[in-house]
Subunit: 261 residues, 2 copies
DNA sequence: TCAAAAGTGTTAATTCTACACCCATGT
DNA sequence: ACATGGGTGTAGAATTAACACTTTTGA
């Protein structure tokens, strides 16, 4: 039997790169990693939030090659006995400190052969929505992590690594689309929120103004969307009539929400 | 340096199963496939069509273990220099003989650690829609391939291998949902079709009747959905006034189609 | 009392639904 | 002629969009 192996060192760990086995005793089809290559499987996450009335996405500046200094989505290897969803939740928690709670769902999987110049990497991309929070914890590595306005990414102001420009485009599209037929908007808000805050989410993500009066009516009519509380926002929090508080309802898929004008 | 390898034979080819490398000269972190396991990456496809007014899905009966004799989605390994989309298109073509043309899109990726008892397999699931055609070509292997009514699958009448019951459920849901805001319905029809045929698609997939008059109006109003031909269906093809023929329009995403009642 | 924000009422425009009716063809 | 499926017209219902108006607070 002949065995040929090539290893690669990525992030100080060995990664199997090429592998070939020929059985000389019972010659059958050999195992050749050029034919059945060991894929690396990663997850990448597009984490959205609203910062200063800007629809924003978390990006990380890469510290090493390839694509040194370019920006990228947070992500990492899927561990051996970990589901993809679990890996994504772990990455989300590592980057933002947020456990479960918020919205996290699979976006799409990207597996073009040359998407990572080092080896064959298939990446399951996820997207998440977190309530506005302070600066993202920069993570255990001292990498720069930043919430960046989606507007600036779409304007091409960030040089993104790998195929992340493509992934980010898909994620933005999905997030905007899903506002229209799901209760995802509430994930941008804190646990308790007013109808104005919720409306601001739609206006910010879609970049259009919505009629406050009509919005309030529709939101409350919508079965399972909102859970009204018997309290108003603390009156001292601004001038004007104090707004009623709500929590997110139980329904994930909601019927007739708001149309993107 | 110490190397430990376990190989597995799947479908008459070796698959790398376990792999461990320790560098005894420069002892660093060893490569251990229990930590960075080589994932196998496959694609599985849910191929939908309409057979005898039944919304149907292509299933294949497995010839070998595991899950011998259970039904499964067609699928296979992603080749080394193949994109995921390419692999899916290849599988679709192998199973149905259909090249490109029809609708094919990624559904979701499934990667639970124990989903395949043999090894760690991550499967990118796709879904496709093909026009009604004769019996599916049984493929190069002499496996049984069959279009099965979705109704019967939902009733649990088929024992599905791996996590394919789960995948199939997601695919059905997606197909039904996407009728509502895309031009996918035309993919169920032949290249030229009448409004009745198109309406029958909606009625069959959703399992509800639609008002023919209103349907025809909406379909034709809908920008980019249909391309009217100057011909009618051959009058001899039935009694009644011959219907006008249409082709699919150019738009993939259409604005205000038909609501699932 | 005034400004500001929350929330309610109301009306005209639009869209949708249901069904009546006309059209073109085979028998 | 008439049965059958294709296609148009239309009136009433339902929904929507726009804006005027009332309520509750801070200053």
């Amino acid at each position: 039997m002949t065995i040929t192996i090539t290893l690669l060192i990525v992030n100080s760990t060995f990664i199997l790169y090429y592998f070939h086995v020929t059985d000389t005793v019972n010659p059958g089809k050999p195992y050749d990693s050029a034919e059945f290559p060991p894929f690396a499987v990663t997850v990448d996450i597009a984490i959205f939030t609203i910062v200063d009335e800007e629809f924003s996405l978390l990006l990380i500046q890469r510290g090493g090659d390839p694509f040194k200094d370019a920006w990228a989505l947070p992500g990492g290897f899927v561990q051996p006995d970990e589901d993809l969803d679990t890996a994504a939740a772990r990455e989300l928690s590592e980057e933002t400190g947020i456990d479960s709670a918020s919205h996290l769902e699979q976006l799409k999987t990207y597996g073009a052969p040359e998407r990572d110049p080092r080896m064959r990497v298939v990446s399951a991309a996820y997207w998440a929505v977190v309530p506005r929070l302070g600066a993202p914890s920069a993570g255990s590595d001292a990498r720069r992590a930043l919430f960046v306005p989606v507007r600036e990414i779409e304007a091409g102001q960030y040089d993104l690594a790998f195929d992340h420009q493509h992934i980010v485009g898909d994620a933005i599209e999905r997030a905007r689309a899903k506002l229209e037929y799901s209760a995802i908007a509430t994930s941008f808000c804190d646990r308790e929120f007013t109808l104005s805050e919720l409306r601001k989410v739609y206006e910010t993500v879609w970049g259009v103004p919505l009629e406050p009066a009509n919005f309030a009516r529709k939101a409350q009519q919508c079965e399972g969307f909102l859970q009204p509380l018997e309290r108003t926002i603390s009156p001292s929090s601004g001038t004007g009539r104090p707004a009623q508080l709500f929590r997110a309802g139980t329904a994930n898929e909601i019927q007739p929400p708001f149309k993107r004008p």
